[in-house]
């Protein structure tokens, strides 16, 4: 049946991209490229793996099995949670890595470093205040 063939194709694509994510995490030289591999590939693979579960739930629902609707809807909610939270987490990690001073490998120029940031400004003013307090106390 062509429905089962579609389900097997979805499972194959999903496992292939998850394995690519694992290999990319091991082989890439840098935090940012590892983030690129580990986030995008797992998101794309999980779309297809959970999509196959949703298709199985719809098929069970079509065959008058009441568990099928619950399976499909809850899997779709889990997929939506992954799709909403994964890019936001990746962006937060990348920003934290850049602000904590991790350099990209083989990078010639870092244009983000030239822009002033709020955090560094706050830190410098606070250090200045501390220094002034210390000198004033002395």
């Amino acid at each position: 049946m062509i429905f089962d063939l579609i389900i097997y194709m979805f499972i194959g694509i999903g496992i292939f991209f998850n394995v690519l994510a694992g290999i990319g995490l091991l082989r890439f030289p840098d935090v940012y490229t590892r983030l690129h591999a580990g986030t995008k590939c797992t998101t794309f693979g999980s779309i297809f793996l959970i999509g196959s579960v949703v298709l199985i739930g719809l098929k069970m629902w079509w065959e008058n099995d009441t568990n099928g609707s619950v399976l499909a809807i809850h899997s779709a909610i889990a997929l939506i949670a992954i799709l909403l939270t994964n890019p936001v987490g990746a962006h937060a990690i990348a920003r934290a890595a850049h602000r904590s001073g991790v350099e990209p490998a083989n990078a010639v120029i870092d244009e983000l470093k030239e822009k002033p940031m709020k955090k560094t400004k706050k830190k410098t003013t606070r250090n200045k205040e501390k220094n002034e307090e210390q000198t004033g106390g002395d």
Binding site: V19, I82, N86, G89
Partner: protein
């Protein structure tokens, strides 16, 4: 066997294979968590492991036809997102 079995795929063994393949991917990501040179490397590995564990929970619930595992996967997705945000905030060095 025969024509009646032809229309049903074997859900149990298929999705157990998916869970085993995802476990191998988790082992690959765990190597990066153990030997990552900097702290953001380890956070990237933990984030990847979280996503794979969510998908493995959904596949496991499908294999044994238990919908409660998928509910656990939804809650795990949201909690791992919040923990990732807090670790990133900690690495950034600002105040909370």
């Amino acid at each position: 066997m025969g024509t009646e079995d032809n229309r049903m795929i074997d859900i149990n063994s298929t999705y157990m294979f998916v869970v085993i393949a995802l476990a191998l991917c988790i082992v690959l990501a765990l190597i990066r968590v153990i030997r990552g040179p900097t702290a953001p490397d380890r956070v990237v590995g933990v984030d990847t492991i979280n996503t794979m564990v969510i998908v493995a929970m959904v596949a496991f619930g499908t294999a044994y036809r238990e919908v409660i595992y998928i509910d656990v996967a939804i809650v795990y997705a949201l909690l791992s997102f919040i923990s990732t945000l807090f670790i990133a905030k900690y690495l950034e060095g600002g105040e909370f």
